[in-house]
Every structure is written in C-alpha cells, then in structure tokens.
C-alpha cells in the first residue's frame, strides 16, 4: 500500500501545482467576462509565475531570515495539505493519518508563516494585514474543525479518506440535513480562509481593506512566486475538499492507472464547477466591512455546531 499511497500523493501534488494557477486564472476570467471585461486569459497566473521565478528576490533592509524561510514553509504546508486531502484517491499512508486535525494544523502552519512574513518587514501595512489574517484564521479554524467533525460522526472516524469513502458508498448521505448544514458552514470557512470575496477582495490593492495582498507586499521575485503558488494551492486543495465531500463521484478507491486518470479528470471537473460558481457568486457580492466579518464567521460556526447536534439527533433516532 505504501508505494501506491506515495504514487497517489505525487499525483495529487503535481495535479494541484499545475491546476491551481489555472483555477485562479479561470476564476479571474469568469469574473472578468461577467463584468463585461475581456480578461487576461486562463493562463495569465502561469505567465506571472514564470516571470517571477526568473527574477531574483530582493529583500528590504532589516528583514530577517523569516522572509526567506516563510515562503518555503508556506509552499511545504500547502503541498502537505494537497497530500492529506483526498482529492484524487482515498489511498493513504498507514503511518501519516489524513486526519482532520492533522490537516487543520498543517493549514494553520501555512497561515502562521504568511502572517510572520507580513510582520517581518516591520511596515505598518504588513502588520495590519497579519493581524487581520490571524483574527480571521482564529475564527475560521474552529468552523472547519466542527463542520468536518459533524460529517465524521456518522462514519465514526475523523479520517478524511474514510469520510469520503463512506459518501462514495452511500451518496444519499450527501443530501442529509446534517451534511448540508456542515457543507454550507465549511464553504463559508473556505471562502474566509482563502481570502475570497465577502471577506477579502483578492483583486484590490487598497491598503485599508486588503488582507492577503498586504502581507506579500514586501516580497518579490522567486519568494513572491512561491507565496502566490502556495496560497493558490491552498485555495485549490480546500475547494477540492469541498468538491470531494459534496460530489464524491470519481474518486479512486485503489491505485490503478485508469482509476487515477478518472480521479484527476473528475478533480478538474469539480474544480471548474466550484471555481466558476464561486467566481460568479463573487460578482454579486460586496466586500463585508471588517467588523462584520466575525458576524459571518460566527454564523457559519453556529451552522457547523448545529450540524453536530443534529447529527446526534439522527444517530439517536
């Protein structure tokens, strides 16, 4: 099983490295078209990355080693998340559990790395961005935990691959009230975690409102490329997690070339569907005032919490 799991991990990481910039490009393109612009094309994020990778990274005076280690930590944590989340198949390493709590802690590692990068340069904007980022992260993590926990109660395990497996066996469970509540909560949490529209506007550079952009303001060249790729991979992996839980079809249960090929194709379909839906939804949304973001996240937490209580309701009945 070990070689199979390793092969699957390599496939998932490679797929996400290739696909996540395309996903971001697709989302920008959908948005541009719906707003009546031509758009830069789906391949634009890849062109940006190629350009940035060819440039040396300049570091401001007074910055420490955090500035160069941060991007490495972020990209590693994103790659690890891509390994842990059952995106293509549910075959896992026997020793490294793809446990829910492991995944959330790895996600948090990347969040902290990004926040430290924002703080390191000592600029006022970076600090503000980091502070906002950590505030949102502190509110989002419980929601992610509790909502996936609600999904794990019927399965009896907090391992993500087992949860997805159970949904593959019994697709009717996707439409149960518990699962719907938990998925809505998880979706809000994913939107907040990846800094999408009602929480953060990914396309703005207005200092007072932005969160993600402000933290990478002081990075340049290769470092910036790693940071961007890392954040995009997080977005891709989390959307993929929602996709695997919402539409579990096509996920490989074993390591055969055909099953994996089907898994990758279905992953592309799911990412295209979810990404376009998210981008289309963003067109109709205005950014929330920062002080109303906790309201939204508290709401999603309560939904997740109710999903947990309701799942006990169904289990007992």
């Amino acid at each position: 099983m070990k070689t199979g799991a390793a092969f699957l991990a390599i496939v998932q990481v490679t797929a996400m490295v290739i696909l996540s910039p395309l996903l971001v490009g697709l989302m920008r393109q959908v948005r541009a078209r719906m707003e009546g612009r031509v758009g830069a094309g789906v391949l634009q994020p890849w062109r940006d990355l190629r350009k940035l990778f060819a440039k040396e990274s300049l570091q401001a005076e007074g910055t420490s080693w955090v500035m160069s280690v941060g991007p490495v930590v972020l990209i590693t944590s994103s790659a690890l998340v891509c390994v842990l989340v059952p995106l293509v198949g549910t075959v896992t390493f026997p020793l490294v559990p793809d446990d829910l709590f492991v995944m959330v802690s790895v996600l948090l590692l990347g969040t902290v790395a990004l926040a430290l990068i924002g703080l390191d340069s000592g600029s006022a904007f970076g600090g503000m961005g980091s502070s906002r980022h950590m505030t949102i992260a502190a509110l989002v993590e419980p929601t992610v935990l509790v909502s996936v926990y609600a999904l794990s109660i019927p399965v009896g395990s907090s391992s993500l691959s087992l949860i997805v497996d159970a949904r593959l066996v019994d697709p009717a469970s996707v439409a149960s009230p518990v699962s719907l509540l938990a998925l809505v909560a998880l979706f809000i949490a994913v939107v907040a975690e990846t800094g999408r529209m009602p929480v953060d506007n990914p396309s703005t550079h207005l200092e007072l409102t932005m969160i993600h952009e402000v933290m990478v303001l002081e990075s340049s060249g290769r470092d910036l490329a790693w940071l961007e790729l890392g954040s995009w991979m997080r977005l891709g992996a989390l959307l993929g997690l929602v996709g695997s839980l919402l539409l579990p079809w096509g996920i490989a249960g074993d390591v055969t070339p055909l099953a994996i090929l089907l898994g990758v194709l279905m992953l592309i379909v799911k990412l295209v569907v979810l990404g376009s839906a998210l981008a289309a939804g963003e067109v109709f949304l205005a950014k929330l005032r920062l002080f109303r973001v906790p309201e939204l996240l508290a709401g999603s937490f309560v939904l997740a919490f109710l999903a947990v209580t309701a799942s006990y309701l169904v289990v007992q009945g």
Partner: protein, 219 residues
Amino acid sequence: MSASLFDQLIGLSAGVLLLTSVLLVWKRSLVAAVRLLALQGAALAAMVAFIGVFERDLPLLAVAGLVLLLKGFVLPFVLDRSRIQTGAVREETPLMNTTSSLLVLSLLTMLAYLVSQPLLTLAPGPTTAAVPVGISLVLYGFLILTTRRHAISQLVGFLVLDNGIATVAFLTSGGVPFVVELGASLDVLLVVLILRVLGGRIAAEYGGADLDELTELRD
C-alpha cells in the same frame, strides 16, 4: 410511510425549524424575519403532517392544515402589515450584537440538549430525539424577546417561543386534542392582533415602535 423515511422527514423538518430560527437571530432585517417566520410555520405544519400520516391520525392532519394556515400565512401576513404600517425595515439597535447572540445560540442549544436528556431516555424514538429542537426554539424565542427592542422583533420572538412550545407538544404527545389546539391557536392569533393594533398605535403616536423609548409616561 416506512420508519426510516419517517426518521429522515422528522429530522429534516426539525433541521428546517432550527435553521430558520438561527437565521431569525442572525438577520436584522424585519422583512427577512417575517419570511423566515412563515417558512418556520410551514416546517412546523409539515412536521405535524408527517406525524399524522405516520400514525394514521386523521384529526392530526386537520391540525396540520390549521397550523399551516395560521402560522404559515395569517400570522406572517398580519406581521407584515404591521411592519409596513410602522415603516420599519431593520432592527436598528439590538441590545446584544449579532456575533455574541449567535454564540449564545450555540450555548442555548447545548442547554436544550442537556435539559431534554431525561425525556430522551424515557422513550427513545425519532420524535423524542427531535424534542431538544423544540426546547431550543423556546429558548431562542426568549433570547429574541429579551435582546430586541423593536415591537415587530418582539412579536417575532413571541411567535418563535410559541412555535417551540407547539413543537414540543406535537413531538412528545402526538399533538393535543383538536379543541385545545384550536383554543391555543386562537389565543396566539388574538395576542398578535392586539399587539399589532397596539404597535400601530404606538407608531402613530410616537413615530416609531422602538419599545426602549417608552420608558416614561407623558401626556
């Protein structure tokens, strides 16, 4: 109706009841509140109808029709008229902000589950398993009543409270006799009508229905 389908349907209607009341606390818009209340009434009626069909109880189906008519249409309609009359769109200044009231909600839900533990052990089954939802609704109703200031919001809180009591009654005893249900429903209707007239008079007299401003007597 098979037992497992009955389980699912009771779970679903209980879920809708819970979700609508959470949204009632979350949203400050009074327009949304009236719509959510109508949806909640319909969910309650559906739950009663499910119990009626499962237990082959014809009077209970009549009660379900009554509940749907009263809580799904008449009361929301009366509330909506009253909202238009007072000209209010939003609950402007609740005593507790939305974030903390949402967190209080989760605590109240937990409390409801703890309190209803003896009931659950008394007669385990799908209907008793949903009883905590009814008790949560009662607690949410009290929360809305105590933290909102606008007359319409307070009415909404009162009706959520009543929905909670009705939910518990239907789930534990398979409904009360038809006459009693009719009497209780008429009581609620009467209270809402009186409060609506009162709210309209208050709005006409003082130009707003914010009850906190009515702390002193004047001529």
